[in-house]
């Protein structure tokens, strides 16, 4: 089961509206390497990890990614707060307004809806861990690109935190995979 803590893992206090940034940030909400996809991916894959180490790590990273969905959602919510219809129209958010008003909906930066294929689950620990490492790298790059889109420290601080978490997650997945390769005598080409 899961428990809710009524606070963010990292605080979000954005004072300045920025609709362009809100739209770009959707990449990390409903995009293929976004936080929603990451969370569901690890929580799904954990059933096929061969021992307790992997089950623990995927559960815990999957849980942390849930907290990251909440950080991204808070950022988008605050960046869009109080935007007029005219402002939304001028920033490429006509479709957003027509279908969802100011509400959050899991799409990517191009308004492509979230889809279950992002959850990449093969049933093979090695295939899954390799794909998880790649997903963390791609998410890290996306955060770097997002950081190039703004000068606002209120936005940069949480983005920088989230980017660094991808660095750590990548490292832990890599270490788990190395451990399993040794434990189960598996070579890279197998």
């Amino acid at each position: 089961m899961w428990k809710y803590v009524k606070k963010l893992e990292y605080p979000v206090n954005i004072q300045k509206k920025d609709l362009n940034m809100a739209k770009a940030l959707m990449a990390q909400y409903g995009g293929p390497d976004g936080e929603l996809a990451a969370s569901l991916r690890y929580i799904n894959q954990r059933y096929n990890m061969p021992d307790g180490r992997g089950k623990a790590l995927l559960t815990d990273i999957g849980t942390e990614e849930l907290a990251h969905i909440e950080i991204i959602a808070a950022m988008v919510h605050q960046l869009m707060k109080g935007a007029s219809i005219e402002e939304l129209k001028q920033n490429g958010l006509t479709a957003q307004f027509v279908e969802h008003d100011h509400a959050l909906f899991p799409v990517d930066a191009a308004m492509v809806p979230f889809t279950a294929t992002y959850i990449e689950t093969s049933g093979d620990w090695d295939a899954d861990l390799v794909s998880d490492m790649a997903a963390e790298k791609r998410a890290k790059v996306t955060y770097e690109n997002l950081m190039k889109m703004t000068n606002d420290p209120d936005v940069l601080a949480p983005l920088s935190f989230l980017r660094q978490r991808e660095v750590v997650h990548y490292q832990r997945f890599k270490e788990l995979r190395e451990f399993y390769k040794q434990k189960y005598q598996k070579k890279d080409n197998q």
């Binding site: 428990k3 809710y4 009524k6 990292y10 605080p11 979000v12 206090n13 180490r53 660094q164 832990r172």
Partner: protein, 118 residues
């Protein structure tokens, strides 16, 4: 197994970096420190930082499950976290549903603000 995760940042330095482990820290852009505007923000930052340290060291321990020094440190941080959580909830209201501070009427779980509200 080769263990490159020996040196830790202190919890505050780790929290503002998003990484407790010096050897795998990858800086990109600035490091953003916190300037809490009141007592509540100050206490919350302290709680966030302890919670973060537990999360990050926890991920590490999932793999290196026989690192006794880190287990000991984890328990120290966790004890301090529980103390600060109690202090925070006693002053500013419950943030966990199993909180001892949900013992009053009216029910205070639904109190504003919510975490996404500035």
């Amino acid at each position: 197994m080769l263990n490159e995760n020996k040196i830790l940042f202190d919890p505050y330095q780790g929290f503002i970096r998003g990484n407790m482990f010096e050897s795998i820290f990858d800086q990109y852009g600035n490091i953003y420190s916190f300037k809490p505007i009141n007592e509540q923000a100050k206490l919350l930052t302290y709680l966030d930082m302890l919670e973060f340290a537990c999360i990050d060291i926890g991920l590490y321990l999932d793999i290196y499950n026989d690192d006794n020094k880190k287990i000991e440190y984890y328990n120290e941080l966790n004890k301090e976290k529980k103390r600060i959580l109690d202090e925070y909830e006693s002053k500013f209201g419950p943030i966990e549903l199993c909180s001892d501070y949900l013992n009053r009427s009216p029910w205070s779980w639904d109190n504003d603000p919510w975490p996404w509200e500035v």
